[in-house]
């Protein structure tokens, strides 16, 4: 009969209304991402407190979007002087983390990185040979 489909539709929407909302109240309930989530790039610290990176260049070669920049320490070929990632251009494909032979890179489960200035999206993970902690999740 004409109208039965309409009535059924009204019934469905009303039942959903009574079932209650599914909304997550994000800024009030901070969402914890799964460990597999690929978000922002950060670098581990080695035993001496320096960057875990060994400046092997694998990630730079593997990066499809040229968002990484590495400068080697002129004194020590196995030490990075600068390690920069342009998060404003990164596609978060994870090839750098996957390719890193020393497991120096990892993703931080953080997503609150919106800024007013594009320049601040360039993270210096290593600056003048020292691990900066930029890119790590803010404590």
């Amino acid at each position: 009969m004409f109208g039965s489909g309409l009535a059924k539709g009204l019934g469905i929407t009303m039942r959903r209304l009574l079932a209650g909302p599914v909304t997550e109240l994000y800024p009030y309930d901070h969402k914890v991402l799964t460990p597999a989530s690929r978000t922002f790039l950060a670098m581990y610290v080695n035993e001496e407190g320096g960057p875990a990176c060994k400046a092997c260049n694998t990630c730079i070669v593997g990066c499809p979007d040229h968002v990484l920049r590495l400068e080697k320490d002129p004194d020590d070929n196995r030490k990075p002087l600068e390690f920069v990632v342009n998060s404003g251009r990164c596609t978060f494909c994870g090839l750098c983390v996957e390719n890193c032979p020393y497991d120096a890179l990892h993703f931080t489960p953080d997503y609150e990185r919106a800024t007013y200035d594009r320049g601040t999206l360039i993270y210096h993970l290593v600056h003048e040979g020292a691990h900066t902690g930029e890119g790590d999740e803010p404590k």
Partner: protein, 376 residues
């Protein structure tokens, strides 16, 4: 610029040039239709595309074979896994790589789940087109979110998985996740499908809008290069998953959904049935998932032998062909995508004239556009 021919259909009165898009709520992206209208009737329709042309085919030539997968994700952002899979299959065929069985099954599972999410986006879009205030849209999104949670847990990203690798897949799927997914697909998903059907094909207003609108025969569709659910809704059971099985499809029991009518309502019915069919396949895949490796060892600097090959797969929108050519180096010589809706759209100037503006959106919604794949 475009000159519309003077039309006889208007009886000599002046026609109206209506630009629908590229920034219009129901063109599903940045598609631009130049419509010549006589009142509310379309006289000529000319699709203008290219607003999302990012040059993926050229960019791929400057990347290694592996890095291209990052682009295939973004090429069709509604059916990421299908596009990754098509590309990987093409390269594997070119390089002569045989996959372990588990990898094939995992890929098939993700491909079918992706078909569900893609059809859900179609459902959301088509219900918006016919003028609901987004309620069915949001119900579809709810289910999609549920599947996206699974995608994220497996691949690490909600939308851009970068999960398939040449020679296999990147990560294995946790059995607990699979069990969860199976429960969802078996218990909740059919109920959701009932809801979708009741709100779309069961609604008299929708039936009055779609029944008998845009009836095309299978011959017309084949001649105009239309594939996928649009063609199957015209009664021709053509599906590469059955005709030229790949992945694990040969071992699955599934039905190719067709509908003899060929109007807009039939296209809706076919896609809604495909949702259930895909869920059924996913359950079979989870149950029959073989043990074993998830990837074969492939050199990092992969160099397929010189030559080219063309591989067609059944994406949610139709036949997705990938043509790759190699010159024996680490980078593709040519990467080309045969987009099903690129050719589907090329049929629109022949399909749309004579219909009302409102009908035009319904018919056009039937090919389920995704501009990323058309423009590449």
């Amino acid at each position: 610029m475009v000159n519309f021919p003077r039309s006889e259909a208007t009886g000599g009165t002046e026609t109206l040039l209506l630009n629908v898009g590229p920034q219009h709520p129901s063109t599903h992206g940045v598609l631009h239709f130049m419509l010549e209208m006589a009142g509310e009737t379309v006289v000529t329709a000319k699709p203008v595309i290219g607003y999302l042309h990012r040059g993926i085919e050229k960019l791929a030539e400057n990347r290694t074979w592996q890095q291209v997968i990052v682009l295939t994700d973004r090429q069709d952002y509604v059916a990421q896994f299908s596009n990754e899979w098509a590309y990987c299959r093409a390269v594997e065929r070119l390089a002569g790589i045989e996959l372990p069985e588990r990898a094939e099954w995992l890929r098939t599972l993700m491909g079918e789940l992706n078909r569900i999410t893609s059809h859900l986006i179609w459902y959301a879009g088509v219900t918006m087109d016919i003028g609901t205030l987004g309620t069915p849209f949001i119900y579809a999104w709810e289910t999609r979110e549920r599947i996206f949670d699974f995608f994220e847990a497996v691949t690490g990203a909600r939308m851009m998985p970068n999960w398939m690798r040449i020679g296999g897949v990147r990560t294995d799927i946790d059995p607990a996740l699979l069990a969860d997914l199976r429960t969802f697909l078996e218990r909740d998903f059919p109920k959701e499908c009932d809801t979708y059907e009741a709100l779309l094909t069961g609604n008299e207003i929708v039936v009055s809008r779609m029944k008998g609108v845009g009836v095309y025969t299978a011959e017309e569709c084949v001649h105009l290069g239309i594939t996928g659910p649009f063609l199957r809704a015209s009664g021709l059971a053509r599906d590469l998953r059955r005709d030229a099985p790949y992945g694990a499809y040969a071992k699955l029991d599934f039905e190719v959904c067709t509908d003899p009518v060929g109007d807009s309502l039939a296209r809706c019915r076919v896609r809604l049935r495909e949702l259930r069919e895909s869920a059924r396949m996913c359950i079979q895949l989870i149950d029959g998932m073989p043990e074993g490796d998830i990837a074969v060892k492939v050199p990092k600097a992969l160099k397929p032998p010189a030559g080219d090959c063309y591989v067609r797969t059944e994406s949610p929108r139709g036949e997705l062909g990938v043509f790759v050519a190699s010159d024996g180096t680490t980078r593709p010589y040519r990467y080309r995508v045969r987009s099903p809706i690129f050719y589907g759209l090329s049929a629109m100037p022949r399909l749309l004239p004579g219909h009302l503006l409102a009908d035009m959106l319904v018919i056009f919604g039937g090919i389920d556009t995704s501009m990323g794949e058309i423009d590449r």
